[in-house]
């Protein structure tokens, strides 16, 4: 009997609890299953926007990834960035998103906890979900922060995080990320080159005067470096035109930094395609920031060798100032292309020095004569072309002369005796013998890709118009790790 009553009681309890949990699910929309955190607003219509206390923590490490000391350092760093940029920076980690989508959960966290500065709640939040089944990093920008949080910058920030997170270097990840965010918010670009950062932060150039080979890639031995530096110096002094070589694996669109923040030298037309324009502007900025060039017009020639992660090269030659580069008064398009071609020829890791020296050989000839000589390969092709045309000319004209010479020949035709209008076709028949089919492959027009580059090989998904439960919009970037 007791057992019967106990079973009945349990059944009633179960029946009583079921509608309650179903009601909780309904109220949170697509929030999934599980118990929601205290801060979560289950009825968005009842929520009113508010600003939380500026002293509230900006690092909420629910996943417990950092030590208390590390937390303190990151907290301080986030405060520093906020004060410098007047935009809120929040890092939030957790081991679950309560069955919700990470992006929505992160945005709701930002909104319902009153983060963001100013009337538009400007700021950026990074959410790390450590749930093994749903591990992801998601960043969302709100308010005016969205202006700089574009696909390129968000991808760079994700790159910084990814490299550390996969190594479980959480402190380094957040610290590096905060510096990238600061650069982005201050200068519009996450990963500023060193020379650019030094100039922007202190107004000082990084490289001392006379250092004309800047190698951020490596791959050139000390002795080769010395030899190249000597050659650069000799050429510069001899022709009173500063000759500089810059090898870099950085490759950014510095236009985000703003036209007033960085000086940009005038080095002639920047090119036609966006990649060339971007690279040339980068070099022009480098030239002006570092203060290269002789005399008032900063006369000089800069070779830029851009190396990307796939060891693909972009070679650009820029001439600045005018007038006294030996006989090379002006860098014509063809001369520029030729210099770039001789530099690019067989360029690869391990032979940078060889290619730079070859470039300097051709540049020396150019400054001496005003013309960029062609490579031996090209000269060989020309000689072959000359010989080929010569052979054709010789053979055809000789055969023609022989034909013209030999006028005594027995006639084998009676063309001149044909009465032209006498020709008649009296009967005709066409018999189809067979059909053959010729195939011709027509390649499709190449499809351009707008994917952003990623050093880790992983790609971020960027959305410029995400929405939280309350309806506030942001720009989100997310990547699994």
């Amino acid at each position: 009997m007791k057992k019967t009553w106990l079973c009945l009681l349990i059944t009633l309890l179960v029946l009583f609890c079921l509608p309650l949990s179903a009601g909780a699910d309904d109220s949170s929309g697509d929030t999934g299953s599980g118990e929601l955190p205290d801060w979560y607003v289950t009825d968005p219509n009842s929520f009113e926007d508010f600003h939380n206390d500026i002293n509230d923590p900006r690092l909420i490490d629910q996943a417990d990834l950092l030590t208390p000391e590390q937390e303190a350092q990151i907290e301080a760093r986030l405060d520093q960035v906020r004060e410098a940029t007047q935009q809120d920076i929040v890092i939030f980690t957790d081991t679950t998103s309560y069955g919700m989508d990470n992006e929505l959960y992160e945005m709701d966290f930002y909104v319902y906890n009153g983060y963001g500065l100013g009337p538009n709640f400007d700021g950026l939040i990074l959410f790390i979900n450590m749930d093994p089944d749903n591990r992801e990093m998601v960043s969302t920008a709100f308010g005016k922060t969205r202006d700089v949080f574009d696909a390129a910058n968000s991808n760079m920030l994700d790159d910084i995080l990814y490299d550390h997170l996969v190594e479980q270097e959480y402190f380094e990840a957040f610290l590096s990320w905060s510096f990238g965010v600061e650069n982005m918010l201050k200068y519009g670009i996450v990963d500023l080159p060193a020379w650019c950062g030094a100039y922007l932060s202190s107004g000082q150039v990084l490289y001392p005067s006379g250092v004309r080979l800047i190698n951020e890639v490596g791959g050139i031995s000390e002795s080769d470096t010395q030899r190249i530096l000597e050659r650069l110096s000799d050429l510069s002094v001899k022709y009173q035109t500063e000759v500089v070589v810059y090898l870099t694996d950085k490759y950014y669109d510095l236009s985000h930094v703003g036209s007033d923040a960085l000086p940009v030298a005038e080095g002639g037309p920047r090119g036609e395609d966006s990649e060339e324009i971007e690279a040339n502007r980068y070099l022009d900025t480098f030239w002006a920031v570092e203060g290269y060039g002789y005399s008032e017009d900063h006369r000089g020639i800069l070779l830029g060798i851009f190396v990307d992660e796939s060891s693909l090269y972009n070679i650009q030659v820029r001439m600045y100032g005018s007038g006294a580069a030996g006989k090379a008064k002006e860098l014509s398009d063809s001369s520029e292309k030729r210099l770039e071609s001789v530099t690019l020829l067989n360029l690869g890791e391990g032979n940078y020095a060889y290619n730079v020296n070859r470039y300097l050989d051709f540049l020396g000839s150019y400054m001496k004569t005003g013309h960029v000589p062609h490579s031996w390969f090209v000269r060989g092709l020309w000689a072959l072309a000359c010989a080929f045309v010569g052979l054709l000319t010789g053979r055809f004209s000789t055969e023609r002369a022989i034909r013209k010479n030999n006028v005594v020949r027995e006639e084998t035709r009676a063309d001149v005796n044909l009465i032209s209008d006498s020709f008649r076709v009296l009967w005709s028949r066409n018999v189809l013998l067979g059909t053959r089919v010729e195939k011709r492959y027509i390649p499709k027009p190449s499809e351009s890709s707008s994917s952003t580059r990623s050093s880790s090989g992983s790609r971020s998904h960027y959305s410029s118009n995400s929405r939280s439960s309350s309806g506030r919009s942001g720009s989100t970037s997310r990547r699994k790790f």
Binding site: S332, S334, S335, R338, H371, V372, H374, W382, A385, C386, A387, V389, G390, L391, L392, T393, G394, R395, S397, T398, A401, I402, K404, N405, V407, V408, R409, E410, E411, T412, R413, A414, D415, V416, N417, L418, I419, S422, F423, R424, V425, L426, W427, S428, R429, N430, V431, L432, L433, G434, T435, R436, V437, E438, K439, R440, Y441, I442, P443, K444
Partner: protein, 357 residues
């Protein structure tokens, strides 16, 4: 039997003067109209077979080409059995052997000489000066021999040609695309055509002594200037009767017509097709007219290093033709000069581009 042309005034040997188209006595400078001299029997229409038979009869050993000059009484052997007109080597009397141009051997027509022989050596010189690949020293070490005016026998044919020709040819058919591949169909046909055409005035020399290539090359002659045969035009010139039968010459003419006929049919009867080639050709010729005529040719020999090079000059138009020595060394020089020009132009072009660049 011989016919001599004597000056009525001085009794000297008189000859036909091409420059004035009249008989001219070189001794007393008298000029006479051609009609004032002995007129031969008018020619009667003769069939080709008859002519061929007559040619064989005239070529028999019984008819030895020996004559007695009426002027000086010398007994002269003619250079060949076909010689019909010559000059006595002893007294320079102009003699026509009338039996060579009698009966079935009478030519159907003659084109008299229009060009004078006196400046032909200069014409030949200017001709070979334009030629290339001559050996070094040719200009200074050659010698031009005497000029001989010869009436060369020719056969003239007018023919109709009919027959069947088969061609292999292709035609482009439908073009369609599947995926990244474009397919084009080509249909191969056998084209069968029955064609007809006509030829007029095919001229072939009828003398075995004359090289065919030289006589073919010295043409064309304006056959509208053809005159009825008259032995008076032969006075002062060498003349040969034919020794190549009409049947032999007709084979050569047929070959020419077939070659031309097949090519004309290929170009005119296969429109809309490409990659056309002849599979078979069966053309028959029907001779509408065959005529035996004499055409004027000046012959002369140019000698270089002991080797004669024969020249012929069209006696009607003055066209000069001839064979010349050939130097391989000069050909190579010419080749390398042209090579240098071609290569130089390309090099200069490239240089200009390089400088402009």
């Amino acid at each position: 039997m011989i016919a001599e042309q004597k000056c009525p005034n001085c009794g000297g040997a008189i000859a036909f003067d091409p420059a004035i188209g009249k008989m001219h006595c070189p001794y007393c400078e008298s000029i006479f109209d051609i009609e004032q001299f002995q007129t031969p029997q008018p020619a009667k229409p003769v069939g080709m077979n008859q002519r061929d038979e007559a040619m064989k009869a005239a070529a028999s050993p019984a008819s030895m080409p020996v004559y007695v000059c009426r002027s000086c009484g010398a007994e002269v052997v003619t250079p060949s059995q076909t010689t019909g007109s010559l000059t006595c080597p002893y007294c320079s009397n102009n003699i026509v052997l009338t039996e060579q141009f009698s009966g079935a051997l009478v030519p159907d027509g003659i084109i008299p000489f229009r060009i004078m022989p006196d400046k032909l050596s200069d014409e030949v010189r200017s001709y070979y000066k334009k030629k290339m690949f001559l050996p070094k020293g040719f200009f200074s070490r050659n010698s031009i021999g005497p000029v001989t005016g010869v009436y060369v026998p020719f056969w003239i044919f007018d023919c109709d040609v009919t027959g069947d020709i088969a061609f292999s040819a292709e035609k482009r058919g439908a073009t369609y695309r599947r995926g990244d591949t474009e397919y084009t169909e080509y249909e191969r046909y056998r084209l069968e055509r029955k064609v007809s055409m006509s030829f007029a005035g095919i001229s072939l020399d009828a003398s075995k002594k004359m090289p065919n290539d030289l006589m073919d090359s010295v043409q064309p002659y304006d056959l509208s200037q053809l005159q009825p045969f008259d032995i008076r035009y032969l006075a002062g010139f060498v003349a040969d009767r034919f020794d190549e039968s009409s049947q032999e010459s007709r084979q050569r003419a047929t070959e020419r017509m077939k070659n031309t006929g097949a090519n004309v049919a290929m170009s005119r009867a296969t429109q809309g097709f490409h990659s056309v080639s002849i599979i078979s050709s069966s053309l028959q010729t029907v001779v509408k007219r065959a005529a035996y005529i004499l055409l004027p040719v000046y012959l002369l020999n140019l000698t270089y290093e002991g080797q004669p090079y024969q020249f012929a000059v069209n006696g009607q138009s003055g066209k000069v033709i001839g064979k010349l020595p050939y130097s391989k060394l000069e050909e190579r020089k010419y080749f390398w000069k042209r090579f240098a020009v071609g290569a130089g132009i390309v090099a200069a072009f490239i240089g200009l581009i390089a400088i402009a660049g």
